[in-house]
């Protein structure tokens, strides 16, 4: 299950698309001090792109690889982003790997994409409080219900994006755009 050149180029292209989408959406909410909100606005797009990548490549470690490509580019903006993207990637990959015998592929893709976004929201808020001082840790813990709600919303919207991604992927397969 080694990655070949085609897999790498597609993963990199997905990471580039994720960056483009985050440049468009995140500045709209960057100043609003609600933990995890920045992840919520990108969740459907990230879910869609991840689902499409999984349909095309379907190899272990894909979430981590794409997160790495996305995060390294964002290193110039903040090294912290790379950290929480990698943790979310590993969590989603673990879910995708551990459920390979128990769940159908469609559910695994949707579940992993949703989990990816939920973990990103929680770890992102935690890293923001720990390393960037965006919010004192005490305040973050006091706003746990808000963070939990945002994480659930992220998971739901990420999962919905993945459903759309699967739909697009199936259409592309039918028209032989994707094999």
């Amino acid at each position: 299950m080694q990655y070949n050149l085609k897999d790498i180029t597609y993963s990199a292209m997905t990471a580039a698309a994720m960056n483009v989408l985050s440049y468009v959406t995140v500045p709209l909410v960057v100043a609003v001090p609600v933990p995890g909100l920045r992840n919520l606005v990108v969740a459907p797009f990230y879910g869609l792109l991840m689902a499409l990548a999984l349909m095309r490549i379907d190899k272990h470690g894909l979430f981590t690889l794409i997160s790495f490509f996305t995060g390294v580019v964002l290193l110039f903006i903040s090294p912290v982003i790379l950290g929480f993207l990698l943790i979310s990637g590993v969590a989603a990959d673990l879910f995708y790997f551990l459920t390979q015998r128990g769940l159908p592929k469609r559910s695994r893709i949707i579940g992993a994409s949703g989990l990816y976004m939920a973990v990103m929201a929680v770890v992102g808020a935690l890293f923001g409080a720990l390393f960037l001082g965006e919010m004192p840790l005490g305040d973050l813990f006091r706003s746990t219900p808000v963070l939990a709600a945002v994480a659930i919303l992220c998971a739901v919207t990420g999962g919905m994006g993945a459903v759309l991604g699967i739909r697009v992927g199936s259409e592309f397969r039918r028209t032989t755009i994707m094999r």
Binding site: L5, I8, F68, L75, F76, I77
Partner: protein
């Protein structure tokens, strides 16, 4: 040699090792976060601005500066309205400029080829090197494609008719299709140039770490440390 896009950049910045530039941008980021005093933040920001102008990056700063300034004002106003103090909101807005300046320092003076060469010499696996290069190179390409797709959709469909389903068909599907076809073309081109094989690749020229790189790093640290200590 670096491409003509970097011809206007002064040699003292252009010839700096790409990894040293990367470390410098990270150091600038850490300085911006670790410095609560707006005076210290503004002082280093003006020094950095001057350095970028001297290095010939003024043209690259000029275009996006009004947008960055507008975003910084929003960050300041929202930060202040949501319970932050005036110095805290000001520091947050100034940090926004730091992001932009440090990004310009690296991206405006480093060609992707030079960066790839430096990573190759640092023995990063080929798949990560190639992946990173493609990601960085194709962000502006995809951004432009997306703008064109949105423009063509706006021309064809009236505002009143724009439903979610239609937007999905008219904007999202073409963008994803473009992404896929680009990816296939690049993979084929790279394969033809011998990428993806296990054989050791040669390099066009060495990118070496010299005494100037060390001097630049230390000088930058001394300036940061002095400002931080005095204010």
């Amino acid at each position: 040699m670096q491409g003509s896009a970097f011809a206007g950049v002064a040699p003292f910045l252009r010839e700096l090792h790409p990894i040293v530039k990367l470390i410098t941008t990270i150091l600038i980021f850490i300085y911006a976060l670790a410095t609560p005093s707006p005076t210290a933040l503004l002082l280093y920001l003006f020094l950095l601005w001057g350095f970028l102008l001297l290095a010939g990056l003024g043209g690259q700063l000029r275009g996006p500066l009004p947008y960055v300034s507008a975003a910084a004002v929003i960050v300041f106003v929202v930060g202040w309205l949501f319970g932050g103090t005036f110095p805290m909101a000001l520091a947050a807005a100034v940090r926004f400029f730091y992001l932009f300046f440090s990004f310009t320092l690296f991206v405006g003076s480093t060609s992707p080829n030079e960066f790839l060469r430096a990573l190759h010499q640092a023995r990063l696996p080929w798949m990560l090197r190639v992946g990173l290069l493609i990601t960085m190179r194709f962000i502006p390409v995809l951004k432009e494609d997306m703008t064109k797709i949105i423009q063509s959709f706006s021309l064809r469909v009236d505002k009143g008719q724009r439903r979610l389903g239609l937007m999905y068909r008219g904007m999202l599907v073409p963008f994803l299709f473009r992404m896929m076809s680009l990816s296939d073309q690049i993979a084929m081109n790279l394969q033809m140039r011998g990428f993806g094989t296990k054989r050791q690749q040669t390099r066009y020229r060495d990118v070496s770490f010299g005494s100037y790189d060390l001097f630049f790093l230390l000088a930058n640290l001394v300036v940061m440390g002095t400002i931080r200590w005095r204010f």
